[in-house]
C-alpha cells in the first residue's frame, strides 16, 4: 500500500545524496523519492549576436508525464524576454510551460539573431527532469552543461594556462540579496594570497566573470587550482572554460560543498585556527 504525504517530500529529496547533476545518486539500490517541486538552474543562458543556447529537457520516468515551467532572468534578476527559434514560439517570452511525455524530451533553442541577451534560466517541475544547456558560439564551438542544483557552497576546478581561462557563472536563488564569497585555493588546499573575492547579487541576479577578473589584480597566468564558493543563502553555479583557439570552449559542473556536521573537537580546532 502506498501512502503519500506531501509534507515531507522536499525534506526526503534533500536527504538523498545529490550528484553534481542534481539528481539523486543511484548507487546499488534504486532510489525512492517523493517530489513536491523539482527545481534546477542554468546559471548561464542566452542568445543573440550569433550565440545560441539549447535547453534540452528529458523525462526519466517511464510512466508519468513531466510538467513544469522554464523561466528566464536577466543579469539583474528581472524577467528576461528572449526570442526562441522553435516552432510555435511567437515573440519573445520570459517563461515557457512544458509537458514532456514519459521517456521523452524537449529542446528549446534561443534565437541567435538579434542583440545579445544573457542571463540565467530556472526549471521548476512536479517531477524529476533531466536538464542540459548546450551553448553554441559560431567559430568557437559547442559546450554542454547539466542543470545545477541549489547549493550554499560549491567547489570548482579553475585554471588560467595555455591560453585557456575559467569563468564562473553564479545565480542568486535566495529570496533577497546574496553575497557569494569566492576563495582561490591551490590543488594542495592552500589559499592563494589575495585570492578572496565577493560578489553581491540581487534577487534572481547572476554574474559571470573570468577568474582573472574576479581576483583582480592577482596574476593568475599559469595557475591551476580550485575556487570555493560560499554564501549564507542558496545559489547555483557553473564553470566555463574558454581558450584562444577554436573549440577551446567547454563548461564544467561544480561540486556542492559537503554538508558539515562539526564534531566538538573540530569546533575547538577551528576556534584555535581562527584565534591564531
Amino acid at each position: 500500500m502506498l501512502k503519500i504525504r506531501r509534507v515531507l517530500p522536499l525534506l526526503l529529496l534533500l536527504a538523498l545524496p545529490v550528484a553534481p547533476d542534481g539528481l539523486a545518486q543511484d548507487q546499488d539500490q534504486p532510489r525512492l523519492g517523493v517530489i513536491e517541486q523539482f527545481e534546477r538552474h542554468f546559471a548561464q543562458f542566452g542568445g543573440g549576436a550569433g550565440f545560441s543556447s539549447d535547453i534540452v529537457l528529458t523525462n526519466p520516468s517511464n510512466f508519468f508525464s513531466a510538467t513544469g515551467t522554464i523561466s528566464f532572468f536577466d543579469a539583474n534578476g528581472q524577467a528576461l524576454e528572449i526570442e526562441l527559434a522553435d516552432d510555435g514560439m511567437e515573440g519573445p517570452v520570459s517563461s515557457v510551460n512544458f509537458e514532456i511525455q514519459p521517456g521523452g524530451g524537449l529542446r528549446l533553442r534561443t534565437d541567435s539573431a538579434g542583440p545579445l541577451s544573457l542571463g540565467s534560466a530556472s526549471l521548476s517541475s512536479g517531477s524529476i527532469v533531466g536538464g542540459v544547456v548546450r551553448f553554441r558560439i559560431p567559430g568557437v564551438g559547442i559546450a554542454g552543461v547539466p542543470a545545477a542544483p541549489s547549493v550554499e557552497g560549491a567547489i570548482a576546478p579553475v585554471r588560467q594556462q595555455d591560453g585557456i581561462r575559467t569563468g564562473l557563472a553564479i545565480r542568486n536563488l535566495s529570496e533577497g540579496n546574496l553575497v557569494v564569497t569566492l576563495t582561490l585555493f591551490t590543488f594542495e588546499g592552500v589559499e592563494v594570497a589575495g585570492g578572496i573575492a565577493a560578489q553581491a547579487l540581487q534577487l534572481n541576479a547572476r554574474s559571470a566573470s573570468f577568474i582573472d577578473e574576479i581576483f583582480d589584480p592577482l596574476d593568475l597566468e599559469g595557475f591551476e587550482g580550485v575556487v570555493v564558493l560560499e554564501a549564507e543563502g542558496p545559489f547555483a553555479a557553473t564553470a566555463l572554460e574558454l581558450g584562444d583557439d577554436t573549440g577551446e570552449f567547454t563548461t564544467l559542473p561544480v561540486t556542492p560543498l559537503e554538508n558539515v556536521i562539526l564534531l566538538e573537537s573540530q569546533i575547538k580546532a577551528l576556534a584555535n585556527q581562527i584565534e591564531k
Binding site: I4, Q101, R134, I142, L252
Partner: protein, 538 residues
C-alpha cells in the same frame, strides 16, 4: 674374594704341586656405545638414528654367556646383532620403547667383541634444547667381571660408560590456509576469515596463530569451531587489529605428531573511513619448535577495500594527440579524502596508461590520491604514442568532485562531470547539422556479463522504428558508439530526440556530441532514471 665354586680346582692344583699362584676365572667385559656413524651430536626429530653397542672381553678369561641389555627409549625400529646371539624384546613403559636383551651362549674369547646395532626413530620433541640420551646399556656374563664400571652406562648404577647424547631439533611442517567470505568490502562491512591449519609433523608443539588485519580494521569476534576445540585454547585481540589464538600441545610426550587439523574463525569490522585499494590480512603460525617451518609459514589474503564513494568516467583515454584531464576536487572543509583512480580498457581489463604528470611514473592502471580539504588534483594523459581508450573509476573514502576534460587538437576541449552508477538513464541525442551524438557506456558489474538495452525515442516519447539496440558488456567493459552505428535501421535524418538506456545490472554512461566543424565537440551528462514513489493522485 675367592668364590667357593673355585675350591676344587685350587685343591687339585695344590695336589699336583704347582708352584704358580692360584688364579680365579674372570673376564673384564668392556662396553662401548656410539652412534653410527660415530659422534652424531644432533638430529631432526622424527629421524632415524643408529647405535652400535659393543662388548669386548678384555680377559683374562673367556666370558661365558655374555648378555647385553639395552633400553631403547625411542621408537624401536630394528636390530642387527653379531652372530650367535639370541635376542628378546620387552615393551618398556608407554609407547614404543623397548628393552632388548641379547645373549651369546657359551664362551666369548678374550679379545673377542660382540655387538648389537639398533635402529630407532627419535620422537618429536616438545621443546628446544632437548637431548636424546642413550644411557641404559649394560653387559654381563656368567664369568666374574673384576670391573663392572666399564660395562655399564652412566644410567645404570655404578656405570661409567658415558651416555650417548644427541640434541634433537624439533620441527613441524605446518599447513596453513586462510579464506575470506568476500573479495571486496565497503565501509562498515564485516569480513569473516576462516583459518585452518594442520601439523604434518614430525614434532608436536604448542602453536600460536596470529591473524593481523589491515590497518584500521578491528577484530569483532573469534570463534573456534566446537568439534575440535580444546579446553586449553586461548584467544585474544577482540577490539584490536590482531587476533591471536594459542592452541596447547596434544600428547607432547609420546612419539606422535599432533596431526589433527584445527581451525579459527575471525570476524573483522571494516572501518567507516579508509584509503580504498587492495589491503592485506596476514596470517602467521608460530610454534615453540627450534627450527622454523619447512615451508609456508604464513598465507596472505588480499581483499579489495572499497570506499563508500564511487564515481565513474565512461570515456577516458589518451594518445594520437588526444588527451584527457581528470580533475578531482575535495568539497570537504576539514577532512582530506583519499582514494584510488582505476583505469579500464574496452574489455574491462586494467588499462596501462601514461600520464604527463611528474607524480605518476610510467604507465599505470591505477593511481592512489589524497586530496587536502578544499584541494584538488589534475592528472593529464599523455597525448603522444598510440591511442589508448577506456574508462576510469574513482573509489574514495568520501565524496569527491570529478570532471574530465577531453582535448582533441583542432577540434577543441570538452568537459563532463563524473557519472554515477545507474540501472537506467536517459540522454538527449541528435543527428543534425553535421553534429551527431555518441554514447559511451561502461559496465559496473564486478563479475559476469551484462546487457544494456537502448531505446531511441522522439521527444514525444514514442519509440522510433528500428530504434532498439542491445549492447553486451563484460565485467567493467565499455563501448562507445554514435547513434547511427547503434540504430542502423532507424531513419536518423535530421533526428533529435532521446535514448533510454536500461539494464538489470549497474552501468554508467555519458553522451558526446561531435560535429564536422571545429569546436563542435561537447559532452553531455545522462540523467538517471529514478524509481519514484507514485503520487496518490497519479
Amino acid at each position: 674374594m675367592i668364590r667357593k665354586a673355585y675350591f676344587p680346582s685350587i685343591l687339585l692344583m695344590l695336589v699336583l704341586g704347582w708352584a704358580a699362584p692360584l688364579q680365579a676365572q674372570e673376564a673384564d667385559l668392556v662396553l662401548t656405545k656410539d652412534t653410527i656413524p660415530p659422534e652424531i651430536t644432533s638430529m631432526l626429530a622424527g629421524g632415524l638414528i643408529q647405535y652400535r653397542v659393543e662388548i669386548t672381553n678384555n680377559g683374562p678369561s673367556p666370558a661365558t654367556d655374555v648378555t647385553l641389555v639395552d633400553e631403547v627409549a625411542q621408537i624401536f625400529v630394528s636390530q642387527n646383532v653379531s652372530p650367535g646371539a639370541s635376542c628378546t624384546q620387552m615393551p618398556l613403559g608407554v609407547g614404543f620403547a623397548r628393552e632388548v636383551t641379547c645373549t651369546w651362549n657359551g664362551p666369548t674369547a678374550v679379545g673377542e667383541t660382540r655387538f648389537v646395532e639398533f635402529t630407532a626413530r627419535a620422537c618429536g620433541g616438545s621443546s628446544c634444547n632437548s637431548f636424546l640420551v642413550a644411557d641404559a646399556a649394560r653387559a654381563s656374563s656368567a664369568t666374574f667381571d673384576p670391573n663392572n664400571s666399564n660395562n655399564r652406562q652412566t644410567g645404570v648404577m655404578g656405570g661409567m660408560v658415558p651416555a650417548v647424547e644427541t640434541e634433537i631439533f624439533t620441527q613441524s611442517e605446518w599447513e596453513l590456509d586462510v579464506g575470506a567470505d568476500t573479495a571486496s568490502v565497503r565501509a562498515n562491512d564485516q569480513v569473516t576469515y576462516t583459518i585452518t591449519f594442520d601439523n604434518l609433523g614430525p614434532s608436536s608443539t604448542e602453536v600460536t596463530v596470529t591473524h593481523a588485519l589491515p590497518s584500521g580494521w578491528t577484530v569483532n569476534d573469534i570463534d573456534l569451531p566446537g568439534a575440535i576445540q580444546d579446553p586449553g585454547d586461548v584467544c585474544m585481540g577482540i577490539g584490536t587489529e590482531t587476533a591471536i589464538c594459542t592452541f596447547p600441545i596434544q600428547g607432547p610426550f609420546i612419539c606422535a605428531a599432533f596431526s589433527s587439523p584445527d581451525a579459527m574463525v575471525v570476524v573483522a569490522d571494516v572501518p567507516p573511513l579508509f584509503v580504498p585499494g587492495q589491503v592485506r590480512a596476514v596470517t602467521s603460525i608460530e610454534s615453540s619448535n627450534c627450527l622454523e617451518d619447512l615451508g609456508e609459514t604464513e598465507v596472505n589474503t588480499l581483499a579489495t577495500q572499497l570506499g563508500p564513494f564511487d564515481v565513474h568516467f565512461a570515456q577516458f583515454g589518451g594518445g594520437e594527440g588526444f588527451s584527457s584531464d581528470i580533475v578531482l576536487t575535495n568539497p570537504a572543509l576539514f577532512d582530506s579524502v583519499s582514494g584510488v583512480l582505476s583505469f579500464f580498457g574496452p574489455n574491462g581489463d586494467p588499462l596501462e596508461i601514461d600520464f604527463v604528470d611528474d607524480n605518476v611514473m610510467g604507465p599505470v592502471s591505477s593511481h592512489e590520491f589524497t586530496l587536502p580539504p578544499q584541494g584538488g588534483l589534475r592528472l593529464r594523459t599523455q597525448s603522444d604514442g598510440p591511442l589508448a581508450i577506456g574508462s576510469a573509476s574513482v573509489n574514495a573514502s568520501n565524496e569527491v568532485g570529478g570532471v574530465i576534460r577531453f582535448r582533441i587538437p583542432g577540434v577543441g576541449i570538452a568537459g563532463v562531470g563524473s557519472s554515477p552508477l545507474v540501472h537506467g538513464a536517459i540522454a538527449p541525442v541528435r543527428q543534425q547539422e553535421g553534429v551527431r551524438t555518441g554514447l559511451a557506456i561502461r559496465s559496473l558489474l564486478a563479475e559476469g556479463n551484462s546487457v544494456v538495452t537502448l531505446s531511441l525515442r522522439g521527444f514525444d516519447g514514442v519509440e522510433v522504428p528500428g530504434g532498439v539496440a542491445a549492447i553486451a558488456l563484460q565485467s567493467n567493459a565499455r563501448t562507445s558508439r554514435f547513434i547511427d552505428e547503434l540504430f542502423q535501421s532507424a531513419d536518423l535524418t535530421d533526428f533529435e530526440g532521446v535514448v533510454v538506456l536500461e539494464s538489470g545490472a549497474p552501468f554508467t554512461a555519458t553522451a558526446l556530441e561531435l560535429g564536422d566543424d571545429p569546436g563542435e565537440f561537447t559532452t553531455l551528462p545522462v540523467t538517471p532514471v529514478v524509481t519514484m514513489v507514485v503520487l496518490k493522485s497519479k
